[in-house]
């Protein structure tokens, strides 16, 4: 694996606190003195957040499809009527 990818791997280990205490401190020091490395770290952190957003969007769409299919299923009508009755 090329160096830039190993750096990404190491940053991932730093962000998940899975480096050794010594390595964690060394990287922390580098982050303080290298603004470009700090920017890389913040961007990588944001990527993980975006992946989570994307996963949640997908699950929300899947659950909405399940909701619609249950509501339209003739065999589930008493289930659905029971739920609707709670809000009357």
């Amino acid at each position: 694996m090329r160096k830039s990818l190993r750096d990404i791997q190491q940053m991932e280990a730093y962000l998940t606190a899975s480096l050794s205490p010594l390595e964690q401190t060394q990287l922390q020091t580098q982050l303080l003195i290298q603004p470009s490395l700090y920017e890389d770290m913040k961007a990588q952190q944001l990527v993980y957040l975006l992946i989570k957003d994307k996963g949640r969007q997908q699950l929300k769409a899947e659950l909405s499809d399940i909701h619609d299919s249950l509501v339209q299923d003739v065999e589930k009508q008493s289930w659905w009527e029971g739920i609707k009755k709670l809000f009357k």
Partner: protein, 184 residues
């Protein structure tokens, strides 16, 4: 083996749709009852239930769910918390009245949910395959062996290298867009 005999983590990772469908039928009525009793409407109940299911899924995949609680008890507990958050968010808070007068510089690496959505749309257009691979690994916790098969890599090792290449590519796009108009 029947799906219900598997651990809840295996049910959710290998048979997500069937498991979601079963849990929807089993748990939504109790969550709806809870929200109705608190004065919420059906749309709010649906939204809170679906968000609770998503959080439950994430906790199961991260192995942060205690086995002593049934899925129903767990999801209902999350839904109760979400309802409290919903009430807090919608309560007017007079002491924060002057907040809109404050000016601050937004951090490009800590964008609002709305800006994150824009960024996500941009990344999807710029490279869907990478985002799908990263999502499979980090969000759905799919095994590297399965990712290699699904995405057509010859080994787990090449799929792992590809994962880091994708992370680098997406990270650089995020960096480049951080000060560009995508976040403006």
């Amino acid at each position: 083996m029947e799906i219900k005999q598997l651990s809840i983590k295996d049910q959710l990772s290998k048979h997500r749709e069937a498991t979601f469908r079963r849990l929807y039928q089993e748990v939504f009525p109790s969550v709806a009852r809870l929200i109705a009793a608190k004065g919420g409407d059906l749309d709010i109940a649906k939204d809170i239930f679906q968000d609770a299911m998503i959080l439950y899924f994430e906790k199961v995949m991260a192995e942060k769910v205690s086995l002593t609680h049934s899925p129903k008890a767990y999801i209902k507990g999350i839904a109760k918390n979400l309802w409290l958050q919903h009430c807090k968010k919608n309560r007017p808070n007079l002491s924060l009245g002057g907040l809109e007068d404050l000016h601050f510089e937004p951090d490009p690496f800590d964008p609002s949910p709305n800006h994150r959505k824009k960024l996500l749309d941009y990344l999807a257009r710029a490279g869907q395959k990478c985002m799908d691979l990263l999502q499979a690994f980090y969000y759905f916790k799919t095994l590297m062996r399965e990712i290699a098969e699904e995405f057509g890599y010859r080994s787990e090792r090449s799929a792992t290298v590809q994962k880091y290449k994708c992370l680098e590519k997406v990270r650089d796009r995020v960096k480049n867009s951080a000060h560009a108009e995508i976040l403006a």
